[in-house]
Symmetry: C2
Subunit: 210 residues, 2 copies
């Protein structure tokens, strides 16, 4: 899935600098690593450029400010629409387990885990980045999820699902609670799937209005 | 509940500086505010001293390094043993709802919320502080909770409960998802209580071994 179109086709400058897709990929990889490991605050355009082996001006040329660099490189661990298609493929009855399986897979895969913990670290460390993460989540995850959830209070149900997903990422991968790191994959899925189904079902909406 | 015993009774220095419980309380309040608002990284002993209106040397005298200041001032939002006594007072059957009620209360109370988000921010922003938070949680919350939980895999069940608690604090108060901020208190309790009961019950432990 390499992009072969140069970013500024009006000024290709061929031969002067290998500023093609490999360089862009190296910058994006370095940015994700540094945002993930250092958090938003301590990541710098200069540090990312150094790690990618390019001039800082090239990073600014492609990505603009640090915030722009964050928003453009901090992808979600999985493409949300395709993931949601998969999760809801057999209706809401199996959505909790499918989503739990995707989530536990993300937390156990080094690359995806780095993206997820990077987002959590950023959201927690910096109001500016928290706002960017909130927007990213709202547009790319919560709105598409709420649309599929349907029924009453879909945003609340989607947001509660998100709270458990983020909480597991935080407790297992950021704080590193040993019992969660040591638990077998299938055990975590069995524990978390009914919770996602519970939030999805919205049966508790009636209980609250008693 | 003011401490009236001076910290170093061997050198009271009465009259020279009002370094009694009021000054200590002012330092602790300033530290909690700054760790909560700025996170671990950007909080400095100097900044805390300025906010408390005292000399930085006094902060170091009472609390030592920034890390010591963090560990000694970052209390938990509630005293865990008393909270757990209350939560399990009528047996495990009502523990989920009682715990959910305490949690939603904490997230809606300005002082407690500041302590909780301060811990979350710190854990996410700094490996050194994450380790301190992990120890604080392990000793003060997870071990006492696991002891009351009993049965098989008590640490895992306690840690999963913690994941939902932390996740709600993160999604509602740190990231600020609007649906969670806008939901009525009783609705959130109805949604979250069965989840805490589910993790507490451990019924999913059997499902995983099928």
């Amino acid at each position: 899935m390499e992009k072969t179109t140069p970013v500024r086709p009006d000024r290709p400058r061929r031969g002067r600098r290998p500023a093609g897709s490999d360089t862009r990929a190296a910058i994006e990889r370095a940015a994700r690593e540094q945002f993930g490991e250092l958090g938003y605050r301590r990541t710098t355009v200069r540090g990312v450029a150094r790690a990618a082996g390019v001039d800082p001006r090239l990073v600014r040329h492609y990505h603009g400010s640090k915030r722009d660099l964050f928003v453009s490189t901090m992808r979600l661990p999985i493409e949300p629409e395709a993931m949601l298609d998969h999760v809801f493929a057999d209706g809401p009855g199996s959505a909790g387990e499918r989503l739990a399986r995707v989530l536990i897979g993300v937390l156990g895969d080094a690359d995806s885990e780095q993206i997820m913990t990077g987002l959590i670290r950023a959201a927690a460390s910096e109001p500016e980045a928290a706002e960017a993460v909130r927007q990213l989540l709202a547009v790319k995850v919560l709105t598409p999820l709420a649309r599929r959830v349907g029924g009453p209070a879909p945003e609340l149900r989607a947001s509660l699902m998100a709270s458990q997903i983020v909480g597991l990422g935080m407790a297992r991968n950021v704080v590193g609670l040993p019992a969660l790191l040591g638990a077998p994959r299938e055990q975590l899925i069995s524990a978390v799937a009914p919770v996602l189904d519970h939030y999805l079902s919205g049966t508790w909406l009636e209980a609250a209005s008693d």
